[in-house]
Symmetry: D3
Subunit: 290 residues, 6 copies
Amino acid sequence: MFYTDGKLQYPVRVETPNPIFARALQQAIGGVEGEIRVMMQYLFQGWGSRGPKKYRDMLINTGTEEIGHIEMLATAVALNLEGAPLSLQEDVARDGVAGAVLGGMNLRHILSTGLGATPENANGVPFNASHVYASGNLAADMLANATAEATGRALAVRLYGMTDDPGMKDMLSFLIARDTMHQQQWLAVIEELGGMEKVLPIPNSFPQEMEANRFSYAYFGHRTDKQIPMGRWTEGPSLDGNGTFQPMISEPLGGEPVLAPPRPDGGAQQEQTMAGPAANDPTGTTPNVA
Amino acid sequence: MFYTDGKLQYPVRVETPNPIFARALQQAIGGVEGEIRVMMQYLFQGWGSRGPKKYRDMLINTGTEEIGHIEMLATAVALNLEGAPLSLQEDVARDGVAGAVLGGMNLRHILSTGLGATPENANGVPFNASHVYASGNLAADMLANATAEATGRALAVRLYGMTDDPGMKDMLSFLIARDTMHQQQWLAVIEELGGMEKVLPIPNSFPQEMEANRFSYAYFGHRTDKQIPMGRWTEGPSLDGNGTFQPMISEPLGGEPVLAPPRPDGGAQQEQTMAGPAANDPTGTTPNVA
Amino acid sequence: MFYTDGKLQYPVRVETPNPIFARALQQAIGGVEGEIRVMMQYLFQGWGSRGPKKYRDMLINTGTEEIGHIEMLATAVALNLEGAPLSLQEDVARDGVAGAVLGGMNLRHILSTGLGATPENANGVPFNASHVYASGNLAADMLANATAEATGRALAVRLYGMTDDPGMKDMLSFLIARDTMHQQQWLAVIEELGGMEKVLPIPNSFPQEMEANRFSYAYFGHRTDKQIPMGRWTEGPSLDGNGTFQPMISEPLGGEPVLAPPRPDGGAQQEQTMAGPAANDPTGTTPNVA
Amino acid sequence: MFYTDGKLQYPVRVETPNPIFARALQQAIGGVEGEIRVMMQYLFQGWGSRGPKKYRDMLINTGTEEIGHIEMLATAVALNLEGAPLSLQEDVARDGVAGAVLGGMNLRHILSTGLGATPENANGVPFNASHVYASGNLAADMLANATAEATGRALAVRLYGMTDDPGMKDMLSFLIARDTMHQQQWLAVIEELGGMEKVLPIPNSFPQEMEANRFSYAYFGHRTDKQIPMGRWTEGPSLDGNGTFQPMISEPLGGEPVLAPPRPDGGAQQEQTMAGPAANDPTGTTPNVA
Amino acid sequence: MFYTDGKLQYPVRVETPNPIFARALQQAIGGVEGEIRVMMQYLFQGWGSRGPKKYRDMLINTGTEEIGHIEMLATAVALNLEGAPLSLQEDVARDGVAGAVLGGMNLRHILSTGLGATPENANGVPFNASHVYASGNLAADMLANATAEATGRALAVRLYGMTDDPGMKDMLSFLIARDTMHQQQWLAVIEELGGMEKVLPIPNSFPQEMEANRFSYAYFGHRTDKQIPMGRWTEGPSLDGNGTFQPMISEPLGGEPVLAPPRPDGGAQQEQTMAGPAANDPTGTTPNVA
Amino acid sequence: MFYTDGKLQYPVRVETPNPIFARALQQAIGGVEGEIRVMMQYLFQGWGSRGPKKYRDMLINTGTEEIGHIEMLATAVALNLEGAPLSLQEDVARDGVAGAVLGGMNLRHILSTGLGATPENANGVPFNASHVYASGNLAADMLANATAEATGRALAVRLYGMTDDPGMKDMLSFLIARDTMHQQQWLAVIEELGGMEKVLPIPNSFPQEMEANRFSYAYFGHRTDKQIPMGRWTEGPSLDGNGTFQPMISEPLGGEPVLAPPRPDGGAQQEQTMAGPAANDPTGTTPNVA
């Protein structure tokens, strides 16, 4: 169950409202790198958590923090929209060029919300909850969370660079700090579980002798010139300690796939199902072309 | 530029076609944990790669491998659909219960494709390319890729457990092995970049003194009982070596947000914009309720 | 800012887990009638609220309650999935008919979450945040909220009828009661604002003399037989007291639209842009056909 | 069955084409507040209508009117696009600033349609038919329709304010009038059904004694300061006459949820399923932090 | 402007309701091969039509017919849902196997619509209006329409095969006939425009001497074995009479792409922007692997 | 299985980077007329191909070419983004008008990718794989492919007209040429199958005597004035040689649909299910209105 105190986790102040920056901030609300996503991701991971209870508690607790981050950003969007032109005439009056501001806005900020935030990204695409990763595998989820915070911090850093409003920079400096912590937090769980050596390969509950382990530590080359990009991934012990990296040219181990012809009553063309001109060359692909 | 040889990377064999397993396999094609996603993710990361060229090459090379994984799975779906009932009558004939098979199928396998795979997940939801993460930040992308392979391997392991068809188990044992390698591969890049200590916080190009660093290593508690879930994330040095984890009760540092009233010509209700019954209590929330 | 206590708002108990009912419950989580929608809708309305502060507080307060409803339902889904078949073999063992259970499940409950809830509806379609209505107009939002609770209660009632598990019926009886209240709550705001007579037409801040008010209270007939479905909407005073309902046969007041021909460099076919066979009959539609 | 006469319901005239206003108008076509939505919503409600036939007729009749509204708006978009710059050079020539117009356009108006309307909103997001509410419950549907018209009129009013083109203002004054009527129309059905007192709670066919009626008229407080936003929703008789509003502090009635641990073959990490370092602290959340 | 007469274009009769067939029929309503799509596609093409007026009239006229097809199918879905089980208990009573029917249904048919159709496909995925093709190019649109009717007729044929209900077969025989005509209709426009020879390449208003015409009639081979699938597309005159088909092995005409390194303030990792371990091998891909 | 050589199929050169043109180019990557769509469409058609093998080979071969087209366009986007303003200040410095460039950009090019391409269209809407048509019917697929290339070439021509960058014009002249060929290629298959006369109606495997063939070649008129747009589609032999086109006024052949009333336990309103005021007028629609 959840509670609120109606206050902001950190002050949100806008000195010079900018409706195009309001649009940019939307990415941090409804973008795939944004706060709706992490809020729902941590809560759903917590609510579905099976295994040690402390992870459930930790996840729900941090998911609860994230609700407040959306609140901060929604406030920041609303404040940046104050003073926005509501008409093409106001727009011209403002910059002397029709469309310079209005054209760059999320028009739904005027037309749909009356100068408030939407659960959309910077291009006005609504958040889609397929981005909520909750796999039931703790280690996979921790990587997903670290990813979300890594892209989230990259986004916050870019927003920080985009504005010179001191209030906005201050708010973003807080969100950047929280993203720093949250990256750490999820990777700390992996460390607690024994580190990469213990958690890999994810899921580590599947017996590796059942996988085609001849290919488990091979970096496959798919270049026609047979060159292979070399690096840590082509040499040395694997990170789980169970094998040795090696480069390997990929060869087709399976032949050409053969599917049965369509059933006559299956909605295909007759020519696909019977002998006829189109079937004249059953072997398909043919002569060499120099 | 790309090439093909018309062959499968690994043999795809189905002994007993099962149209419900065909639907399950779709998750590995068009699901968020699936192969369309990683194919496009690695290719887009490669195509947009800025910085050392070897990572571009490595990414495009592995993206190229993934195209062939979709090919294998699409073949597996088509083979599992051979013999599927095309009508409610055939369905009854098969199991004695109308709907037992047809009802559990992705009906588009019959109605839209004539017994072939679709770029959809196991529930028939089409792949949405917002899942292609290519952040322009190498470390963030490596975490995203490791996540994709961790959830991908969890998915493959679950598909492996779902079937007892030897051909399908064989194919999946190969895909599981490749997922093992690909998890390693992306994390090996992080090791090559100096390990977590060097790459964190992501992006590491933003000067940490500009973040509100008082909060950069604090695990915030948001529980009403002031209890905090303890673990590696509440004590010890941070993983980047720049701080020390600590628990901290989260307090609201910002006050209650105040937005300007709506403009009279902005499409709100009059009562929102003028004095009136609704505005009688400007202070809002009020008496205690025991 | 938000807080949690880790407990459920109301007990969630499942006596006989049923994975198909788990799929049905998803509609109440991620469906358009579900709890993610109202949670986000009330919070976004509150965060963007302009005008009397009490509505902001009321909205955010109830939005906070809704987070806990998702929590209850996610728990109910997870509990209904315990004991679900993970393989086609287990499925046969269970009911004697392959696919009877598995085929009716949201397969992502097995493949993607390890038996946990997803932010999806009963067909596995992820929640899309375009359903979050926050118009900046208080009365419009109250109607939107009452709608959400009306469809939400209809959904809860149907779920109640679908199951005979006493635990589930108990939980649903609570959610139904809350939906009863929430329908009331939003309509009570309209009463507080003066009732329909005062709030209509929404927005009431637009001067009605600027609308084409000859048509403001006319029910238009579009039937070829010139019959008009009669009811309260065709007679008596309008609900805002500003007019009188009347039936009116709709007549085309505008002529046929005429668009300029395409620019020659605009990517149309030549025949669209120049005189030629296709342009022979500039008048278009022609002879009567008996 | 449906018919057309090729004419517009009301004249559509554009004196000064404006491609950015064309983009804004798209919200009224393909936005959630727009005409495609109401057209489909009323038709689907009518086509699925069970119960008194007059509501079916009324719904389909008005749905038929709405098709013509899309036609008007699509015409308005096409006319506003005439004279739009097709190239970056033309754009500079027009305003002296590259991107001032082109950048603010829906680029698909040039690239995909050759200066015609799309079934998208003002941000270019295509209409998604999940917004078509047809619940099978007449009262719920009437609220949904009134909501659509309330947000639709707010949108039309905002578009009216955004332009100073006399032709566009004239067209919008007609659409605003129709939205006035349609708000009335749907609420008039509720009045015909006996008013809110009779239709609430929706659905009114569920026996209220089966809901947890202790909570049916309570406004729950979720604020940590135990303050409750007071209003009509916290005192006085409920709108259905079946109870009395009251404020109530929400208390967790359920305990902490407990889910079974993951099955060993379910794709979780080993540490989640067995005793081990991660399971050391089975009680989870722990010491107080001052 | 549009009109209705409240009657069906063709009788819709269901002898034995089948809720799983109701789900299948949804593909013909809200699937990409379905009637919502063609209705909107023809209407939007008509509304945006530039050039000879007769095509506008023809398009809108046929779009108007399609509205009635949705009406027929929505009625068919509703009739097939009568008698559907509303609860898991009824479901068992019906077939003796829990989930056999309910599990195969679109659960929204019960939970969201009260046994009515939805604007969704057979998997419950809502129609997305991005499928409405209206390119502003008449010939391209005719191909798009012929495609829609070809896949639409394939779908109707498959539905015809799926059922043995005489009423449903009768209705489908009508829809199949209309699809036959509509395929013809759109291709007849191409014939009227002079046939493929005249309309190709689409758009035919772009001067072909400005394209890289060395490659305009070459079928490129991308197989590693240099074999090329031969057919009409590799020999003989091109269909527009402007060239001769020929096979050609595709060679990379461009080198390796080189992008600038990331800006230091752009959110990338430091290692991407500066000399360091990761930059040691600037040439990237390297040694041959045998 | 697939291979790459790391090179571009054709040179990609940008003389004057333009971030708004980068946004426009996105339509050719992730738009419905773009390259991701054809790549996936041809590959999925090939992978699911049943019938003569040569079509499989041809499809997969051309699908492989298309991967390289995405690569070219992704490179073009990245090059056009070099020099883009990262902040509102840089934006003002560039054009003197804040928002002129930034406002017209896909902001995710800055915020989400660090100046790289996304799998989105020109409005930032991500590609949705429902656009991948693979019907299992060869002729339908060929029309779908010809459509994709027709709209694709129209798009490329419009992009060509939008820019005056010589490098971009050169690249587009190549893509336009390839679209020319691909239009030809898919229609050449139809010619190889015997031309339209043989392949129509699609699918040609359904016995036409089973369709309601009285309506198979009739162009239906749905205009209230009984006028019918005349053309090749209303006279002369049908294109399949099986009938003669004729105009026909559409008459309703079915009566008014009658659905059963809602079940009392189905979540409808009581008034829908029982006698009452709303049911007073069972006949529905009534008196004429002059």
